[in-house]
């Protein structure tokens, strides 16, 4: 086994100024983790496309054109059209917006709520910790998709409900990770100092402990992004996610796409590719970020 130096961000040479440090860290990341950098670029492209969907899409994603149903890829419709004559590329572009909204919202809320619960659990310790962790264990006993399905079937479909349904199963996972880091921080003298200063629990948890679990928090956030996008696609594919005619990648894979799979394979192939590429990119980026920020978590 080759011996590699520990290549955490902290090892970059001393550079003054925040901007310079960020720049140096970014260069370091690109040089040491090219795959992660590729992931980051795809993620960025994805975000830009989602934000500028109105500019990039040639057609209205909802506009039907019965003159060009199931049209094969051509110069007019680069990725072809679907059974209603809607432009597949435009729908993928707008679908990325749905994917990004759901992905970022779920990852953000899931990681944040989970982190607060985890840190609070570690801070209070004892019976409170035991109780919170057992409740989390109950949630953890269900696979992500099953729990999300259960929530959706209670609340019904729609983008807000989908976000909620995907966020719920992420919270216990985030709380586990945050708790384990927070347990170490709990023992730090600066937390003792804050307690000795007579600060309230809320202040100690939010101001003194939470900011110090930033590294695992960022790692969770990126890891959850990919998972959330995949979950949203799965739910939509099962008909429990975003409802037609909203453009969503998972939605594009069902219905007519299955029916006309032989005549018009582009209807399913391209959205499928979009899902794979986005999830793959988010995971690549997340894994590399995790390795760079916290080498100890590498084996998890």
């Amino acid at each position: 086994m080759a011996i590699r130096p520990a290549d955490a961000f902290t090892e970059i040479p001393e550079v003054t100024g925040r901007r310079a440090r960020w720049w140096a860290a970014t260069k370091d990341f690109v040089r040491k983790r090219p795959l992660g950098a590729i992931g980051a670029v795809i993620v960025l492209v994805n975000i830009i496309v989602a934000l500028g969907a109105d500019v990039f899409a040639a057609y209205d994603p909802l506009a039907t054109d019965y003159g060009a149903m199931l049209a094969r890829p051509s110069t007019a419709h680069w990725l072809g059209t679907d059974a209603f004559g809607r432009d597949v590329l435009s729908r993928i572009i707008y679908g990325s917006r749905t994917a990004m909204i759901v992905g970022f919202a779920c990852a953000f809320f899931g990681a944040t709520v989970g982190a607060v619960i985890g840190v609070a659990s570690a801070y209070f310790g004892g019976k409170v910790d035991l109780l919170i962790q057992r409740v989390m264990d109950i949630f953890l006993a269900f696979p992500l998709i099953i729990l999300a399905l259960a929530v959706v079937s209670i609340l019904g479909t729609g983008i807000q409900n989908v976000i909620f349904a995907i966020t719920v199963p992420m919270i216990p996972r985030a709380s586990l990770v945050a708790r384990s880091s927070a347990l170490a921080i709990r023992e730090m003298p600066y937390v003792d100092a804050a307690r000795a200063a007579g600060f309230r629990h809320q202040r100690i948890i939010l101001r003194h402990m939470l900011p110090n679990v930033m590294a695992p928090y960022l790692i969770m956030l990126t890891a959850f992004l990919g998972q959330a996008i995949l979950l949203e696609a799965s739910l939509s594919f099962l008909g429990l996610g975003v409802a037609e005619p909203t453009p969503a990648w998972g939605l594009m894979l069902r219905g007519a796409a299955v029916q006309f799979a032989e005549q018009a394979p582009w209807m399913a192939i391209f959205p499928g590719l979009a899902i794979s590429l986005a999830v793959f990119a988010f995971n690549l980026f997340g894994d590399s970020l995790r390795d760079a920020l916290d080498p100890r978590l590498r084996t998890q």
Binding site: D192, A193, R195, A197, G198, R200, R203, R207, P211, N212
Partner: protein, 327 residues
């Protein structure tokens, strides 16, 4: 330097036990007797040195005074109120009055806050300086007082040296205008040259604000320099407590004698000629302390009775207490 008749702090028979091992599925449960019946009194404006080797319970004693650990039994009476009976909410206003300076200047400051934020936080929370503008001025004042510059307020702890960080820790404690400061090995992690500066700073601050220190350390020379009275701890108990001069010149407990004999003399000839008291064996585990006098297995003068009789801390000479049957 005993100036007030009423003590500022009275620690009475404080016991702190930790349970180890044993969980839901049984297994042997052990009790670590970290602090096993410690009593002392602190008067306003004085410094009590608390010395002993690693693991003797001196830090835990300090934490029990701070109420960071709740004592298993015993009482901690501060300004006439027993802190062990107060709940977290009742304690909050009292906590301001008892502050702490930690050993490790690297982990005692929140790495995500600037020095200015660290010092300003208690000023705002306790409404000591409610106005934000004045608070900044007060932070500058405090920084200057501990020997730092106003521009240090913008820095993060990792951008400072160990000595500078320790000064920040002192400024944070001072911000709350405390009466008592627990100094938990405040100079052990610093270079010798910096140690002297911090000690001098602590002494100046004490004179200026009439602070009371509980100075926890293992360095006998430092304790001798700063303390008015010194308590020696061994395995969770105070074995000797006396005025500094009496303790260093005429130690009554064999453990104190051994400790003092271990201090190197900075003169090779004197060092070579002097008599040594070398303690045999190891410190017994506080999980299973010896019966009788806890020091008897290592004591050079132990007699049979030491194995069975627990010696009380008694006043052998005026103001000079020792827990030894033979003293």
């Amino acid at each position: 330097m005993i100036t007030d008749a009423a003590p500022l702090l009275e620690v009475k028979n404080v016991v702190k036990h930790f349970t180890v091992g044993g969980g839901m599925f049984g297994g042997p449960r052990g009790i670590v007797r970290a602090v096993d019946g410690v009593s002392f009194t602190l008067y306003r404006g004085e410094t009590l040195g608390l010395v002993g080797e690693s693991g003797c319970g001196k830090t835990t004693t300090g934490r029990c005074v701070l109420q960071l650990e709740r004592a298993t039994s015993g009482s901690v009476v501060f300004e006439g109120r027993d802190l062990t009976t107060l709940n977290e909410t009742e304690l909050r206003p009292v906590r301001r009055k008892i502050q702490v300076i930690f050993q490790d200047p690297y982990s005692s400051l929140n790495p995500r806050m600037t020095v200015g934020q660290i010092i300003a936080e208690p000023l705002g929370v306790h409404a000591i300086v409610p106005d934000a503008g004045r608070r900044r001025a007060r932070v500058r004042e405090l920084l200057n007082r501990v020997g730092l510059l106003a521009r240090h307020a913008e820095r993060y702890p990792h951008e400072m040296s160990g000595g500078q960080r320790q000064r920040v820790g002192i400024a944070r404690a001072l911000a709350m205008e405390p009466a008592l400061i627990i100094c938990d090995e405040p100079v052990s992690a610093l270079d010798v040259s910096i140690q002297a500066q911090i000690i001098n700073l602590l002494e100046d601050l004490q004179a200026e604000y009439r602070l009371t220190y509980l100075f926890i350390a293992h360095d006998l020379a430092v304790v001798r320099h700063i303390s008015d009275r010194v308590a020696v701890m061994y395995l969770g108990k105070i074995v000797e407590l006396a005025d500094r001069k009496a303790l260093y010149d005429d130690p009554l407990h064999p453990y104190t004698r051994a400790l003092l004999a271990a201090v190197p003399i900075p003169d090779p000839e004197l060092e070579a000629r002097r008599e040594r008291v070398v303690l045999g064996g190891e410190v017994p585990s506080p999980l299973n302390p010896p019966a009788g006098c806890v020091f008897h297995p290592r004591c050079p003068i132990a007699i049979d009775r030491c194995r069975s009789v627990i010696p009380d801390l008694r006043e052998i000479k005026p103001g000079h207490w020792a827990a030894c049957l033979l003293a």
